[in-house]
Structures are given as structure tokens and as C-alpha cells.
Symmetry: C2
Subunit: 116 residues, 2 copies
Amino acid sequence: MTASESARSVVRHSQLVKVRPERRDEYLALHAAVWPQVEATLTASNFTNYTIFIHDDLLISYFEYAGDDYAADLERIAADPVTRKWWTHTDPCQTPVDGAPEGAIWVDAREVWHLT
Amino acid sequence: MTASESARSVVRHSQLVKVRPERRDEYLALHAAVWPQVEATLTASNFTNYTIFIHDDLLISYFEYAGDDYAADLERIAADPVTRKWWTHTDPCQTPVDGAPEGAIWVDAREVWHLT
């Protein structure tokens, strides 16, 4: 581990959502070219090392939150008009997994173990 | 991005498997204290930033492979007698997700998008 890595203090997240089968191609096409402002807003909001994976109709995200006020950063993302426009494209592609809270799209999984 | 991070060349993986509900507590207890030799073997085999998450009966892993011969490193892990012993505890807790190849336990999801 380098000095710069050891200085990182992040909270790891993995989230789940299902893609609607009839919208799968549309979702993949959107994510082959995510809008630069959407990515810039995530970066400005302390979301780092963010990856989305797919298996069958399950979407799996992993990201590291490097800020110190997650709720405020979520609000910052939701206040960005370009991100809100992006969501009008992605939301119709997605449907919650079982166990998601009412109104949620992505649901957080819980960390069990971590190897640095 | 720091110079040390830009120098990293990793392949990101996310894998899925289900925990058998009757073995869930056993699985979580094992992962609250993973054997040091199991972790050391992963590290020696170029597995980094490895995390396992859980949602309902789904286990989700994320790791970054930093070596240059993934097949050889998988063989190195499978050749470690302590890891093989560990697997005699963990394998009975797990059952493959739909779509897993014959004989596989964890199945690889496919990367859709990444934000550095």
C-alpha cells in the first residue's frame, strides 16, 4: 500500500437494482456513453472508483464514498439538472430488487468482509 | 488521481453467489474472522481491494486483480492447503445463482461502466 492509498478514508458501497429486460439494450447503450456532466457531478460529490456490473437482469454497483457528508452529497447529485435529466432516461430501465425500501431504486447491500 | 493511482493497472471483478439461508449465520461468522493465511494467499495472488457484501440471500463480491496471469494466480490460490481447508467451511454455505456455469460457485458479472 502506498502512502497516498493509506491516507484514503472511504466507505465502500455495493447497490443492487434490476434492469427491465425490454430496456436492457437501452440501459447498456446509455452506459456505453454516460454524459460527462453526470460523471463530473459524481466526482464533485466524492463518489470514486464507481463501477456498474450486470448479470442476467441484475445490475450491481460498487463505489467508494470519499467525502464526509454522504447525505449532503446525495442532495448535491439530486440537485444537478443534468443528472435529473439523465435519470429520466435510466429510471424507466430499472426496477427494485426484493427487499428495497419503498420509493428506492438502488438498494444498499451490507459489507461482510474486506481485504485491503 | 495521484501518480500512484494512475500507475495501477487492475481488472475489476464482481462475482455473485447465494448463501444457503440455514447457513447464513455460519457464513457471516466465518467472515467476521477470515483466516489470516487465506487473506495472505489472496494478497500474494494479486487480489486487492476485495470486499464481500450481502443482500437477502445474495452475496456480492468486488475485487481488483492486479497481476498479469489471472489463471496462474487462481491456481496458486487453489493450491494453498489452508485455503482448501477454508473452502470446506465456506462451500457448504453457498449455492450458485441462476446462470452460473456447471461446477462454478461464484459467477462473474460483466462490467458495464466505470468512473475513475
